[in-house]
Symmetry: C2
Subunit: 155 residues, 2 copies
DNA sequence: GTACTATATAGGAGTAAATCCTATTTGTCA
DNA sequence: TGACAAATAGGATTTACTCCTATATAGTAC
């Protein structure tokens, strides 16, 4: 139910990298080292990092990379359908390239975002007439509260 | 289903103002003109305004009010249980003092937030063991897409 | 009503996140 | 291999708060 200690294996990483390269070509987007690095870095984590978190990680291997490029590229990933912006209330944008159906719990104290998957949440039916008025692009069930670690800290 | 053209009637406005004053006293918070004005202004709208939007509206009647007070007070309202911060992905915080069960649709183009109420969404059951690990404080179903007005504009 | 005090406010400074600008570089394709 | 549109770096700017502090005021005690 609640997913933990995620690490992608290298076969999967390469497979998705190939998929990503194909997707770039398909959309007429250049396959730059920065884009690849950002996408691959995002695949390696389940921490739903912000642009700043990604920037700090990436500059270890790519000292010249700019924060603007990280920001721009994360939005590009989103527009390509290669990543999601995680829902939340306030705070900085957080990114996720796990496109499998799943849901999020966000701790309002430490701001960690935890993955979980509850099948019934995938299948909730939209109100019958809402499609007549709006074009629905995304439907999410989102939980907020205090995580186990923060609960423990408070005694 | 989708709610529109909301205006609170003055009886309701006064009733909720009384409730708010009671709530302030109960929590030992002073009933200042600014607090009252901000709460009352928020009650009059279903636009889910940001602090900035509230500030611009309020300074018409309270020329001296400060943006910091608006921001602080909106957070106070949230902490008192008199308002919610609307969920969303990115963008500035948006506030809502309609505490009746309802859901939101947000247009990713114009950023408008529309209320709707779909009873089945009130009743979705949490995954069975999630309470063992996390303290769940909020559960929301949230829709995103393009609103009718923005759809029309695109031809 | 007057005095006291903790709380709240105004206004400005400071900060964090994201976006914009522009000269330079680079991936793609002919 | 060269041309060019697209992308990047790095700095400036904007946006959305948050912090600071002197002043004002709501609540209470007399
Ligand atoms: Mn996720
Ligand atoms: Mn609402
Ligand atoms: Zn936590
Ligand atoms: Zn719209």
């Amino acid at each position: 139910m609640i997913k933990e200690n995620y690490t992608i294996n290298s076969a999967e990483l390469e497979k998705k990298t190939e998929w990503f390269i194909g997707k770039c070509r398909e959309k007429g987007l250049k396959v730059t080292p920065q884009r690849l690095a950002i996408y691959r870095e995002l695949m390696k984590t389940d921490e739903h990092p912000s642009a700043e978190m990604m920037y700090n990680k990436l500059r270890q291997d790519y000292p010249g990379i700019s924060l603007d490029t990280v920001n721009r590229t994360l939005i590009t990933l989103h527009e390509m359908g290669a990543a999601n912006i995680v829902e939340g209330s306030g705070d900085s944008k957080r990114y996720d390239c796990n496109m499998d159906e799943h849901q999020h719990f966000k701790c309002i104290k430490c701001k960690k975002i935890y993955d979980f998957h509850h099948k019934p949440f995938d299948d909730i039916k939209l109100p019958p007439n809402i499609n007549k008025k709006f074009k629905i692009l995304r439907k999410t069930v989102y939980l907020e509260g205090i995580c186990d670690i923060c609960l423990e800290e408070n005694e």
